[in-house]
């Protein structure tokens, strides 16, 4: 009853990527976003969909180590890249950012949390590289104003913001 599960050859593509350190190869409808690939095809549902349009940050993952909104990335376009999701951060024990989020109660419903955590990890790397932000005036420091600005691409409707800032500050200072 289900007709062809994949569109014609020119409308689908084979995608190879490293997902949390493990190689994946699969054929996708060209329309499939990285977010839907993770969630619907690879059962990696830790990454969440809040808006599907780059407007909330819930889908944030690391692509080649850089944070990105997976809802606006076509899966075909990340062929050959390395993708890290919230599921790939643990290494026997939780990543320090995960532990800090837990300790500081940096979430309530938890829905924005995987995106916040991936974003925070990517953001600290950006800070370490010396990248400026809209509030940078001199040399960059992980102070509250910088963290708030740099984490503003991750909406949290429960508004755990002050605790998110505290958790990140702790990891940045470690």
């Amino acid at each position: 009853m289900v007709r062809n599960a994949m569109p014609g050859p020119e409308l689908s593509s084979t995608v190879r990527l490293m997902l949390n350190g493990a190689p994946q190869e699969l054929t996708v409808d060209n329309r499939t976003t990285l977010l839907d690939l993770l969630r619907d095809r690879l059962d990696h549902t830790g990454t969440k969909k809040g808006c599907d349009h780059g407007q909330c940050g819930a889908c944030t993952v690391l692509v080649d180590g850089r944070r990105a909104n997976s809802c606006l990335l076509l899966a075909v376009a990340v062929d050959g890249r390395e993708v890290t999701t919230v599921e790939g951060l643990e290494d026997d024990e939780p990543h320090p950012m995960q532990a800090a989020f837990l300790a500081h109660d940096a979430f309530q419903c938890g829905y924005c949390t995987p995106g916040q955590i991936c974003s925070a990890i990517g953001m600290l790397d950006e800070l370490a590289e010396g990248w400026p932000s809209a509030v940078t005036t001199g040399p960059v420091h992980p102070d509250d104003a910088e963290i708030r600005e740099r984490m503003s691409g991750n909406l949290c409707r429960c508004a755990a913001y002050p605790n998110i800032v505290a958790a990140i500050r702790e990891v940045a200072g470690a």
């Binding site: 974003s119 990248w131 940078t136 503003s152």
Partner: protein, 325 residues
């Protein structure tokens, strides 16, 4: 989203030959605008040509010009030492746009030609002259609190959402383009068509022309520059007004000034009238205000965006006063 074919461009020529004069084809940069619009059903390409693999992703010095490849990601542009050092206004403008994760993906070229955020344009169930020529412009009588006060027409009052383009306008940037006829360049300001009665025709370059880069001429060594963006939300929001300004004051007199306004028109708005008023005159708040008023004389606000007129006036005065200090 309609099904589409996907191809990676091997080189610039191949990319252009696939997309130019093919109305069903689009370049895919970071995709942060195009994929968004495809999901909304506003863009329905049959073929996406991914250009992110092209070697146009560097910032380089070329004599006294700074060249920015069209595929330089917004984050890399803002963080580049030469940009931060020579054109802080550009770095600031980029950093005031979107979010960290979007800037990591969005490209310079894509940013310049991103489409308006007008809420009727982005809803295919509603009329919109830009999307469907002749269907009408519901924004004029409807929700337009963040739409244009300058240079709009009875056909469309949309604004251009880019921050980056506003800074480039103030920097007299030139755009490198390649189409089937080969490479050429034009001033950034000439990239955008006036609205007139065809708001669907936004760019002056041919359909399917590839933007390959941006070139910035040097600034006077004593120039001071800044970017101020006004928005309701403190971050991760489009401007309701923005100013990019370059000011050179010598002996209390304005020797050079360039002012570009964002979120007031269908394209970055060079405030030429204000600049003319100011050049050679005193660098005082009174002069800045008179110049801003002169520029805004042409403003034609709508029912709910009249607040932008005093807002832009006071913003220009505040920004120039700060730079003159």
């Amino acid at each position: 989203m309609r099904e589409f074919a996907y191809a990676r461009a091997r080189d610039v020529d191949a990319a252009v030959s696939l997309v130019a004069d093919n109305p069903g084809a689009r370049y895919l940069g970071g995709g942060t605008n195009l994929v968004d619009l495809m999901k909304l059903g506003i863009e329905r390409p049959e073929l996406l040509v991914d250009v992110t693999g092209l070697p146009l992703d560097e910032v380089t010095e070329d004599g006294d010009l700074l060249r920015i490849g069209a595929l330089v990601r917004n984050s890399d542009l803002a963080a580049h030492p030469l940009v931060r050092d020579r054109y802080p206004v550009l770095s600031q403008a980029v950093l005031n746009g979107a979010s960290g994760q979007l800037r990591n993906v969005a490209t310079t070229g894509g940013n310049l030609v991103q489409r308006t955020r007008c809420g009727y344009f982005t809803d295919p169930t509603k009329p919109c002259n830009k999307r469907m020529p002749g269907s009408g412009c519901p924004a004029i009588e409807g929700e337009h609190h963040n739409l244009a006060i300058l240079g709009a027409s009875d056909h469309c009052v949309a604004t251009h959402p880019s921050d980056l383009a506003v800074a480039l306008a103030a920097l007299d940037a030139r755009i490198d383009v390649q189409d089937l006829a080969g490479p050429h360049e034009l001033p950034l300001e000439d990239l955008y068509r006036p609205v007139g009665d065809r708001p669907d025709l936004e760019l002056t370059i041919r359909d399917g022309a590839l933007i390959t880069g941006v070139a910035l001429p040097p600034l006077p060594p004593d120039a001071r520059t800044t970017y101020r963006k006004v928005r309701e939300r403190a971050s991760y929001a489009f401007a309701i007004a923005a100013v990019a300004a370059v000011l050179v004051v010598r002996d209390g007199l304005v020797s050079d000034v360039r002012i570009a306004l964002g979120a007031v028109a269908s394209h970055p708005w060079r405030a030429r009238i204000a600049e003319r008023e100011l050049r050679g005159g005193p660098a005082t708040a009174a002069a800045f205000e008179a110049a801003a008023i002169a520029e805004l004389d042409a403003a034609r606000p709508l029912r709910d965006n009249a607040y932008k007129v005093p807002l832009v006036r006071d913003l220009v005065v505040a920004v120039l006063t700060e730079l003159a200090r």
